[in-house]
């Protein structure tokens, strides 16, 4: 991404020099993830995530479709990440063939869809003929780095927040009940993967495969756009609260050794834990807000058990 933003040599040198002296432009420490702001729209499954100046919106929608022939018991789940010049003029409309765009889309796809975060078997209505097709549209609104991390939070929060209309099946006849007729139902979420991206800088020109004491490489978490433009390597690890590594993606760039990979995973875990808690918390709060009157309106039969 962002190949056309011009950065002067002085600026690049300064950012590196500042990193060497333990400083980042925005005043964060190397391991500090930006504060994540999550807000909801009017409908279920409409989530906007803000991290600094980065802004991503995710919108979940669903419709009834036919399942794949080789997977008759599974529903469909699609994540669409398309960039537009809204996030910055460096993005071209409808052109998602750039290396970074493809990488971003693939990592989100791997982290959320292929890790089985959404229970696709629960989307099956009538085996082999009808199922729910769930679609997540990720809109990049403003770009200041960290698209992968922000998108992942947005998609997961939106999936947790979304409710699909209730259905009843009578033989081959499927009835979809409108939302005002029957309470819509949540999707089955099996775990919440969280992506954390590390960026590596090598202030010296020598590349080392075995990192000795002389190694002066710098690793920072959650780079901003300028840092992303200047970095020499990147690593995205996806973890969940259960301490499971969902995926590790490191496409080229500076080589890294096993020890620092382990170390980075540990750092990422504390962030994962905190973010998971935050997501569940905002979902709970929003739910309470939406169902303010639920307890007043609900009527239950007093039944002896």
């Amino acid at each position: 991404m962002a190949k056309d933003i011009e950065i002067s040599t002085s600026e690049a040198q300064f950012i590196l020099e500042a990193l060497k002296q333990n400083g980042r432009l925005d005043g964060r420490s190397f391991d500090q993830f930006r504060d994540v702001e999550i807000s909801f729209g009017r409908e279920y499954g409409d989530v906007t995530v803000k991290m600094g100046n980065t802004k991503v919106q995710c919108r979940i929608s669903c419709q009834i479709a036919q399942p794949y022939e080789d997977r008759p018991f599974e529903g469909l789940f699609l994540i669409s990440t398309e960039s537009s010049p809204m996030a910055g003029p460096q993005f071209e409309n409808g052109n998602n063939t750039g290396e970074d765009e493809v990488l971003c889309a693939r990592i989100i796809e791997k982290a959320v869809r292929r890790s089985g975060a959404l229970d696709v078997e629960g989307l099956c209505i009538v085996a082999g003929s009808k199922c729910w097709a769930v679609r997540a549209d990720v809109h990049f609104l403003d770009c200041d780095g960290g698209f992968i991390d922000a998108s992942c939070v947005a998609v997961m929060t939106a999936l947790l927040h979304f409710k699909k209309p209730d259905i009843s099946v009578l033989g081959d006849r499927v009835t979809v009940h409108p939302v005002d007729e029957r309470e819509p139902v949540s999707l089955g979420i099996l775990h919440i993967p969280i992506c954390v991206t590390f960026s590596f800088f090598n202030p010296q020109d020598t590349e080392e495969n075995i990192k000795g004491d002389s190694n002066s490489e710098i690793a920072i978490i959650d780079a901003t756009l300028k840092e992303e433009l200047l970095r020499d390597g990147t690593l995205t690890v996806t973890l969940n609260k259960n301490r499971e590594v969902v995926q590790v993606s490191k496409a080229g760039g500076l080589p890294m050794d096993a020890l620092s990979l382990m170390e980075n995973c540990h750092k990422a875990y504390t962030i994962t834990e905190r973010l998971t808690e935050q997501i569940l918390d905002v979902i709970k709060k929003d739910d309470a807000e939406r169902n303010k009157y639920a307890t007043l309106l609900s009527s239950e039969n007093a039944r002896e058990t």
């Binding site: 933003i5 011009e6 040599t9 300064f14």
Partner: protein, 238 residues
Amino acid sequence: MSTLIFPGDQLNIDSEQPTTLGPGLYFDPVTQEIGPTNAGVEVIANTKRGQTVYVDYDSKRYIPAVGDYVIGIIVGQFSDSYKVSLSSFSSSVTLSYMAFPNASKKNKPTLKVGDLVYARVCAAEKELEAEIECLDSTTGQDAGFGLLEGGIVIDVTLGFARHLLFDKDFPLLKILSSFTQFEVAIGVNGKIWVKCEEVKNTLACYRSIIDCQKTSVSEYKNTIKSHFKNIVDAAGGK
């Protein structure tokens, strides 16, 4: 007196007097009418030869105008000129090898791609590529233009950059100078270049200027103070 004006509004000028049009105004060649094209403050100034009218507005994208001091990045090099970018994604401008002090056919400037340069816009026609120069074209002498070495560039809105450059009472630089020594160059294309002896002071300047854009003038002192305090604290904690 300042009136806010929007596109399509009527100007409050005396139509009898000869009028000079500044930025934010458009003379329609078909209807022969003058109208504002931007949302901002209508400023009318009386001069010897009549009146000058313009709309004062703030924006983010720079459009070259003759006489402006600008900061650019060298993005290309040709046999007799450099290609310079004044803001990302805009059309680039030309900086001729001859537009340097003491330039001759043999004495060529030694700027490289990626270098920062402080210059003056010397030609700007909307149909053509604009040109900039690194000398005082009236005397042919050095006038403080040229390569900016090291330091950092801060992107600000054009209005803010104009405040910094033209408003003599604008306190930001004065307050900054009470905390650290620094070199500064202000380009009205919304770029401010700052360089201090020490990296941490430059960092504090960078953060101060960015934050001051969003706060009111009376808050500048506190904002800047807190940034310099943070720098000292960070160094102490290490």
